[in-house]
Symmetry: C2
């Protein structure tokens, strides 16, 4: 496969935009990515449009991307609409990587856009429930918060991680989010505030849960071999792009989906977790971040709590995680989240992350970053887990 | 790009199946494809699931493929959900070609499944309207029949094609459909019946329009280089896989989307229209078939009517078109149609099409087939036009 690079990224800030249609959110993110990439938009050969719940939320299914991109002034590019729940836009990027990597296309646009806010909150909840089997899981009223709460209680019991540790994740991420102009929630939270907040389902309190959100994010990718003639921008390489939808486990000892997907990604990139310098994880519920430390191999099993306690994943720590603020602070308009993670890592690897810029192992700009995006739930495992490893 | 081949295809018959859920339609098509391919299902590396309106029709967005495939007993395969209106499953195949062609995956499953029938017909109509810009085109009540009727009137005026010619298409296709055990409508129609049927929008009468339908179709594709060790099945090569979403035209003289997409496909395959021996076109309204003869280069401009008048596109003609019965007779459960076309061409190229088997130019089984699948409408052009050229 040809090597694929990212030339530019863009984002519409995440937030509550009841009056802004999906197409307008899309246009802002896409044109920012095109300008950032410094490419002629006529060079774009194909577009992958990630969106999870537009059909239920807006009645626009079938040709979501074509409608949004036409409105953005980008008519005439072949469009593939991609859906994978909260992992829709990392899946869009995965497909862009395959399209360019195969040689069929030279330049691809990957977009993720979502509107979750609605004057009718019931509609939003119905839409989000569609990330599970609606005839089984959603039908018994099993919401994602309830599912995470059960998982986290088991994790606490097994590892000795406490609710205070979970609050530490929110404290860290809300501080990061306060430094991110694209973030939906920019109020830093104290441990006391987090623990005293309304309980959603023990151990989850309000500030630990990602909220409704609207937003969009985009990236321009191309074959490394053509990057130089398209733009003077320094490309960021995509070293790994892996997708899994659950794994068959014979026993508890078998790797779960995140572990298996991460191993595949490290193998594709030819590196190990010790080489990663900055990470964005899918903390739809902030406490799960600690589980992901372990599953991504950033520490050993049961050691996640130590990382958060000693500040290892802070902006100034040895392995910063969620410098953007993560899903609970930056926001989580589901179909846009994957590419927002990618945008953050691209900015970090370029040294363009402003006040929340992290440093790499040698004290300068980091050179290797990882994103972990997950979507939906089938048989108790993520219906889509998509990991990308980027490097400069 | 690595050469990609089809090892097997499968279909759930098209029809009205109010009590059969999408997952059951899917399971039948997928397992038939797996058995036809003669591959171990554990060899499947990735699945592309095409569906257009499941979110609106069933409330299942986000993880449609994961839910359906889990039910089919295929849990743990990475799934990408693909939507492109009536071209959803040819787009799924296009993505499968890129995934395998790139070298990332060796074996891919492409599926298309759709349920359009509902006890609530209003819901079906709302769902189908989502193949246009719902805030503009659908909002003014512009249905596809109305749009086609306007296009066809212009075509009649320009080329001298008559309503009788359009009826001839239905006569041919309904005869073909009567020989197809997978077809939804198996009643051959006489020219008189077609012309006397209820007028939908002149020149369209009832039997010229595709109807509601439920169904599923699937294909197993793999890299040519691994086909031999996976199965003893003779592979069918995918010589071209092209996707376009409208084209920018400066003037009437510029090629429209179908013409441009076909030229790209012929160039990819290294052949011309004169080499094609059997064709499936997207006759959502049967008369449009005559336009497609011209746009695909099967004849010159304005000559389409001659082809249908002299029976050139009959099963026994020089270039058989829609041997399956096409959309109006085989049925058109939108997200399943593209792969149903592929299944038909695979059966024709293998000489397995039974009573509707066509002959190639040298009097034996045809060696080259083409499918033309279109989806949605943006700016008066197909939002997705997907052409595949297959050969043995």
């Amino acid at each position: 496969m040809r090597e694929v690079v990212i030339l530019g990224v863009g984002m519409h800030p995440f937030g509550k935009f009841l009056d802004v249609p999906l197409r307008d959110l899309t246009a802002v993110a896409v044109w920012q990515a095109i300008e950032d990439a410094g490419v002629d938009p006529r060079a774009i050969d194909v577009a992958y449009f990630g969106n999870a719940v537009g059909g239920i939320m807006t009645g626009q299914e079938s040709v979501r991307g074509q409608v949004a991109l036409k409105h953005a002034g980008l008519y005439g590019i072949p469009v593939v609409n991609v859906d994978n729940a909260c992992a829709s836009s990392s899946t869009a990027l995965h497909e862009a990587v395959l399209g360019v990597g195969s040689g069929m296309y030279d330049v691809a646009l990957a977009v993720g856009a979502e509107k979750l806010y609605s004057p009718d909150t019931g509609k939003s909840i119905e839409a989000l429930a569609s990330a599970t089997d609606v005839e089984v899981v959603a039908a018994i009223g099993m919401q994602f918060t309830a599912y995470y709460a059960m998982e986290l209680r088991e994790f606490m019991e097994k590892t000795g991680t406490t609710q205070e540790d979970f609050a530490r994740v929110v404290v860290k991420n809300s501080k990061n989010g306060s430094l991110n102009p694209y973030a939906q929630f920019r109020q830093p939270r104290s441990p006391e505030e987090v623990l005293a907040a309304r309980e959603i389902a023990y151990p989850l309190t309000l500030y630990m849960c990602s909220a409704m959100g609207d937003g969009a994010a985009a990236a321009i990718v191309c074959a490394k071999e053509v990057a130089g003639r398209l733009s003077s921008r320094s490309p960021v390489s995509i070293k790994a792009s892996t997708l899994m939808s659950g794994v068959l486990r014979q026993s508890e000892a078998d790797p779960d989906t995140v572990v298996a997907c991460a191993r595949k990604a490290y193998s594709q990139a030819g590196i190990g977790p010790e080489d990663v310098e900055v990470v964005e994880v899918h903390d739809a519920m902030a406490p799960a971040e600690i589980q992901y430390y372990e599953e991504l191999g950033l520490c050993g099993e049961g050691e996640g709590k130590e990382l958060i306690r000693r500040g290892a994943t802070d902006l100034t720590g040895e392995i910063p995680v969620n410098p953007s603020g993560g899903l609970a602070s930056r926001g989580h308009p589901v179909g846009a989240t994957g590419l927002a993670q990618i945008a953050e890592i691209v900015w970090q690897l370029r040294g363009e992350a402003g006040e929340r810029q992290v440093k790499g192992k040698n004290g300068t700009t980091p050179r290797v970053g990882l994103t972990h995006n997950a979507g939906g739930l089938v048989e108790g495992e993520p219906a889509a887990c998509c990991i990308h490893i980027l490097s400069v």
